[in-house]
Amino acid sequence: MTALLEVQDLHKHFGGVQAVTACSFTAAEGQITGLIGPNGAGKSTAIDLISGFKVPDTGTVRFEGKEVQGKTPHVISRMGLIRTFQSPREWPGLSVLENLILAHFEPRRERFWRSLAGPSRLERERANDKLIRARDILDEFGLFHLRNERAGILSGGQKRLLEFARIRMAEPRLVILDEPMGGVNPVLGERMATAVLGFVAAGTSVVIVEHNLPFIERVTDQVVVMAEGRVIAEGPFDQLRGNPAVVDAYLGEMPTYDDAES
């Protein structure tokens, strides 16, 4: 299994607070990697450092073998690493369909002169293919009937789905999902679990930060546990269950997926 994302010895401090200390882990291609840990463990900061929204003090981040630490978010995004945010960040004033169309970035078509000249015949055809694809994805996520609505009017759960639909549209090599289950009801949760598995099937590897452990247990192949800014354990979820350090730092009494179902 080759490592798609390799994080080595990442450090970041804010004033006197050491948010991330010697964070190292890898995420393999074609897998779903969970990133768990108590609040304040440095998970979100780690994501920001990996995706370029914050610059690490020291350490390296390798994506597909290329060092990306310190690069700007759009550069990393164009390399095929897309992240989501803790709260859904749809473009509220744009329609749901426009949200999807924009999720797939076409650098050539967005150039100023190209836009002034108008799309070529080939681009027109591609735009049509893209529209059909966007419709299919919306249909899959049950948002098709809302495609002409402004994304801002969607419910919290629908915004989560839209976020997933945008990732499907963008087709990145790796997606980092930041707490996608926040405020999501169990029925929708099931749908989102299916969607996460669907990402892998579509060729997008996944890193997922989540507090919902039954969900983590269900979808992940590998789990990284962080506490107080450092990685304290790494391995399949079943193994971590017995790891005293993990239990002590985070898990404690832990329900299984089946418990949560009943």
């Binding site: 995706s51 929204f53 700007t72 978010p73 759009h74 995004s77 164009r78 897309i82 992240r83 989501t84 945010f85 960040r89 749809e90 473009w91 509220p92 004033g93 744009l94 329609s95 369909l97 426009e98 169309i101 924009l102 999720a103 970035f105 076409e106 650098p107 078509r109 967005e110 150039r111 100023f112 190209r114 836009s115 002034l116 108008g118 799309p119 027109r124 055809e125 735009a127 049509n128 529209l131 059909i132 419709r135 495609r147 002409n148 402004r150 945008r166 963008a170």
Partner: protein
């Protein structure tokens, strides 16, 4: 009466050009720019110093050339864009929202005081004058026919600008700019270079503003700092807000209502003895009231920004690949007019 109508329409088209430029900056990419009138003013000043000939004592100003009017306008537009590139490169780097506005307000006041105090540049507070009926003598127009020609010129330029911005507005470039306005972190996460895109929009908007300023100079035949107090920018913002932020047709309508309608209507208020400043003050009060009412009751404006509408694929037939290409392709590309 006809003269009056011609002058109102000329002024209206010039303001519409300016508002279309500002709409790119505020309406599309979402930056509340208060330096905008500085670009308008630079466009006007540059047009004047490039056309009115050498300075005669006691006036002083730079250049003093006698270039043909269209060439002078083109150079003036480039100058406005270069100034916007400098201001935008600094202000857009890290600042957003109110912080961006404050920096641009600072920038325009620096320009304003500089233009006023540094007399060798544009003759200080006395300003420049002497651009009479540009292109009138070349075309052999006398002073009675000239205003009609200039109105036609301004309307023609407005139409060209409108066609271009409508094209841009509906393009992917225009749509992507809206995504910056709506949520720029998400836009960055999906591959947009925010700084570069915002700066592009800023420079293009300023260039259109400079074009408006150049035509304004030709219309007024003179320009001085009192013509561009930064308050003037607010009138443009009022027009955009009332017409529909982000919507090009809305902006034109907004200029018709707020600049031509409101301003001209208040001109006929009865004079109040010993209170000559009443009418202008009342105009501003009325502008404020209209703005508040619109923000409260119709924030999207009279003609809201157009959203891409996707028709039901069932309506276009099962083979949506074939029939959809005309329908759907067109919807995609003319989405946000």
């Amino acid at each position: 009466m006809i003269d009056y109508l011609v002058s109102v329409l000329t002024e209206g088209s010039i303001f519409a050009i300016m508002a279309l430029g500002l709409n790119i900056i505020w309406g599309w990419s979402g930056d509340f720019d208060l330096a905008f009138y500085g670009y308008v003013a630079l466009g006007a000043y540059m047009t004047l110093v490039l056309t009115i000939g050498p300075a005669t004592s006691p006036t002083t100003y730079i250049l003093g050339l006698t270039l043909p009017f269209p060439l002078a306008v083109a150079i003036a537009v480039v100058c406005s864009m270069l100034l916007a590139l400098v201001v935008g490169a600094i202000a857009l780097r890290h600042l957003r929202g109110i912080y961006f506005s404050i920096v641009t307000l600072g920038a325009v006041y620096v320009l304003y005081v500089f233009a006023g105090q540094f007399v060798p540049l544009f003759n200080g507070y006395n300003g420049l004058s002497g651009l009479f009926d540009p292109m009138g003598d070349v075309l052999g127009l006398d002073f009675s026919a000239y205003p009609f020609f200039y109105l036609g010129l301004c309307v023609a330029v407005l139409c060209v600008v409108l066609v271009l911005v409508t094209r841009l507005s509906g393009s992917r470039f225009g749509l992507a700019l809206r995504s910056l306005r709506e949520d720029e972190r998400a836009a960055a996460a999906f591959g947009r270079n925010i700084y570069a895109m915002k700066l592009k929009a800023y420079v293009i908007g300023a260039g259109i503003g400079g074009l408006g300023g150049a035509l304004f100079a030709g219309y007024l035949s003179a320009f001085n700092p009192s013509a561009w107090s930064p308050v003037e920018t607010i009138v443009l913002y009022a027009a955009i807000l009332v017409g529909g932020r982000g919507s090009n047709r809305g902006v034109i309508l907004g200029v018709a209502v707020m600049v031509m309608g409101l301003q001209e209507a208040t001109r006929y208020l009865p004079e109040i003895a010993n209170q000559p400043s009443f009418a202008p003050a009342f105009r501003l009060i009325l502008t404020g009231i209209v703005l508040v009412l619109f923000i409260r009751f119709r924030p999207q404006g009279l003609l809201p920004e157009h959203r891409m509408r996707d028709k039901d694929p069932a309506d276009t037939g099962g083979t949506s690949v074939a029939t959809g290409s005309a329908v759907a392709g067109a919807t995609l590309d003319t989405g946000a007019a």
